[in-house]
Amino acid sequence: MEKFRIFTAVFALSLTALAMLLLTQLIISSLPVMETFGFRFVIESVWDPVKEVFGALPFIYGTLVTSFIALLIAVPLSIGAAVFLTQYISPKLSYVLSFLIEIIAAIPSVVIGLWGIFVLIPFIREEVGPFLIEYLGFIPVFQGPVYGPSILTGALILTIMIVPIITSMTKDAINTVPILQREGMIALGATRWEVITKVTLPYARPGIIGGVMLGLGRAIGETMAITMVIGNAPEIPASLLAPGDTLASVIANQFSEATSALHESALIELGLILFIITIVINICARLILRREVARG
């Protein structure tokens, strides 16, 4: 018994040590840039490897904005889809449709990226962009010109990638709502829609939030697909139709070509920032869930 305890403790501790080691390594390798730029690194918006001036703000902006827009589109879409799949159609049909939605999650990121280049980018350039500029152009975020690769394109690619996760988690959460809860509301004279909005979704809320957070985590860390469509411009464009860049994309793009030690160190610090952002999101998710569970 005691032996087994030590045995398992080694596994548990080595995994925790691994996480710590990773964090320490990121910090140590970032030190040269931290010493040179200090806090300015995260508020500086110029990224010029040739002149060795490094500011992370464009990438932080790109990462947060693309993920936020992706959530904005994906959350209502996924919840709507999950409600339809669980409440309005037969389990058999639901199984088939759910399978098709989940297949999206199984497509390799690079393949989605290719689709983005050959289908989504032309579509944005020829249809969506001109439409937005014509009808919503008075809002600064929808001003031209439209090249195709853009913050918006990246956000749409992320949307496609996180919809299956959020839909499937929402479906699972809805399926855990006890039938007695729904019947309680039906017996009071509720319509199907009222049962969904007043009982089913509120009861499933912690699970839905969990799914949204998982989707957000995926969106923030996603690299390949978004790198292929976002345009890779280290800028903070006023328009969503202009190219940008994300933390993950710039690391993937520049790491193999980083010639100076400072450039390499700057890329590693971007990784550290990405790591911290995901940790903060995870902590927030846990706090929200704890509050939700305590409330229920």
Partner: protein, 250 residues
């Protein structure tokens, strides 16, 4: 006394299996009618047919008619039917995302009543009606699920009363409660018949004998015997009834 509900030649199926066989039953206004019988005899299905709750269960199908004040409920909007015929379930099912107060008036909110003062008044009225007010008046903003099992079930009755139904259906309402809570619930049910017509399903014969005015004995989907409670328990006419109430099967 007059007939409130008239069940006429009611047949019910779950998929291929027939669970109700030609049930004819008249339920008196302002009385308590108990439906008893062994597990699987169809008593829960029967009571769920009275407010069309069976339609929520996939594969359930019914033929025949149920008349409420001589109007066929199967020809009306089920949502309207359920406003007139309330239901209490086997296990307490308050809504965990709503407070005690919100639970009590959940049905009124469905009807579009938004006035907070009116809702608070109605909540107090129905929570008092089920004898829960003194116990929860300082906990009205806590989740409905924070109460004890017996309190939760009374809250669910209050929730049903708030909609101002004419009939109250109770599907083994005490089956998840301890003896003391059960006693209180039975007192409450007895109290409620002044204003409501009550149909209660129970597997507990003593409970049927204690609270009901009329008792229906159901066996394998058939209505075997139906008469006033005293008579059914003291002088059962059917041999099956006699054997069931004396505890020889069930």
């Amino acid at each position: 006394m007059s007939t409130k509900i008239r069940i006429k030649s009611l047949n019910g199926w779950f998929g291929e299996k027939q669970v109700l066989k030609d049930i004819n039953l008249d339920i008196e206004e302002n009385s308590i009618t108990a439906i008893i019988g062994p597990s699987g005899c169809g008593k829960t299905t029967l009571i769920r047919c009275i407010n069309r709750m069976h339609e929520v269960t996939p594969g359930a199908r019914v033929e025949g008619s149920v008349l409420l004040d001589e109007q066929d409920i199967y020809k009306e909007d089920p949502v309207k039917v359920r406003e007139r015929i309330g239901m209490v379930f086997q296990r307490p099912n308050p809504f965990p995302t709503m407070s005690v107060l919100e639970n009590a008036v959940a049905g009124l909110k469905l009807k579009g009543i938004r006035n907070r003062k009116l809702l608070a008044e109605k909540a107090e009225e129905v929570i008092k009606a089920v004898g829960l007010w003194d116990e929860v008046k300082n906990e009205l903003n806590k989740p409905g699920t924070s109460l004890s099992g017996g309190q939760q079930q009374r809250l669910c009755i209050a929730r049903a009363l708030a909609v101002e139904p004419e009939v109250l259906l109770m599907d083994e309402p005490a089956s998840a409660l301890d003896p003391v809570s059960t006693m209180r619930l039975e007192d409450l049910i007895y109290e409620l018949k002044k204003e409501y017509t009550i149909v209660i399903v129970t597997h507990n014969m003593q409970q049927a004998a204690r609270v009901s005015d009329y008792t229906a004995f159901l066996y394998m989907g058939e209505l075997i015997e139906y008469s006033n409670t005293k008579e059914l328990f003291e002088r059962p006419k059917n041999d099956l009834t006699e054997r069931y109430i004396s505890g020889r099967f069930g």
